[in-house]
Amino acid sequence: MKPPRIDAWGSAQLLASALLGAFLLLPVVGLFATLSWNDFLGGLRDPLLLPALRLSLVTTSSSLALVVVLGSLFAWRVARNPGRVSRWLEAIAQLPAVIPPAVAGVGLLLAFGRRGLLGAWLDRHGLALAFTTPAVVLAEAFVSAPFFVQAAIAAFRRVDENLLVVARTLGASRFRTFLRVGLPLAAPGLVAGAAMSWARAVGEFGATLLFAGNLTGRTQTLPLAVYTAMESDLRAAQALSLILVAIAFAFLFVLRRMAAGAALPGTEPRGA
């Protein structure tokens, strides 16, 4: 058997893959490898942990619900009504993905803060948003919406128009057609989008810090708790980080299983 030929191009690919792979993996390994079991258990007892964990779960499930419900209708409209308005809507939905999170925080403050565009009016009606738990939800929804909306638009576009027309001729209203045909056929793409969007929301830091602050039990989510713990105790920060990583992995695993279960032959190529 001939040994595989080694040329410059092949070696370059190999080297680049090894370098980038190691670079991406090393910090994750560092999180796990440098912490003793006792340090981890000590970190778990950190008083910051439980309130932050609870707050992260509550706020990210709220922002996910908000993004999925509004985003699904938004994406359906954009996908099924191609035209100028839809192109604008699609561009608007992409906007938060390219705005740096800290800038998003400033923007949210200027929009919903006490003196903000809408915030001043809300404030006069006794609704102060900034530096409250709902502000955390808004910040998370803002930064995570593009991930779901993009995936949902792509998934809805793949639904065969003919199926929708047939559903209408079979007596289904436009809403029932969406519910009985559009949603189930787009489900794998929607679940994948929801997973990406949720992962982004859980990690949200910059916009939350600026718009909602860092108040234990009210606006201090897990990433902010990690930041706070870093100032006093690296071990505690590391334990909190590990929990964050574990939750994210578990959730993504469950979602991927759900997506695989919902996938149908002929509706979406596997691994797309």
Partner: protein, 244 residues
Amino acid sequence: MLEIAVARRIGRIDLRIELSLDREAVLVAGPNGAGKSTLLRLLLGVLSPDSGRIALDGTVLFDAAAGIDLAAEDRELGYLPQDYALFPHLDVIGNAVFGLARMRRADRLRHASGWLERLGVGHLSQRSPAALSGGERQRVALARALARNPRALLLDEPFASLDPVARRELRISMRGWLREWRLPALIVSHDPADAVLADRIAVVEHGRVVQQGTLDELRQAAASGFVSAFAAGPAGDPDPVILR
């Protein structure tokens, strides 16, 4: 009786069609881009005419002057699209009961199974559409449409996605069914062999009906190059490829 008089401008097509169907099958033939699919979409109610009127057995489906535009789900039309459009996430029986939402739950299954049986696909109830042959798909899609007791049938290239053997077989079955049901049936096709299904042929070119009649009548006095090529097409079989 299906009465059509519609106009619609869309893209390069300027459609002006007047056509009426009694309880008969009419084949709408024409070259690609003549406006056949647009006509179907106007009839189905997923595209609105700019002007005109569509009526079915005295019920107005669309009337621009009177401001009537019945929703697609209320038009009571049976539609068989070219690829049959079976819902891939539902099994055969799930497809067949889809249109029976208004029927009492207990009656739905019985009624839908009855239609599947009549079209010879009753034994496939639990199958997924992906596991069916082209001919079986067509039968299931027909059963699904007919289970709702439609007042007219719209068939879009009913045999185009079948292999030649299935095509010949189903064309014969379809002819029998159309004779049996006696519904106004509009069949869009550019295959002259499909003429055996129809009582009459209407040729559409550039958005207009340029000629109507039986295949013999078209052959004797063809109004255009397309008509003469179409009418000269193989009477019956084998499948013509010249007009594709």
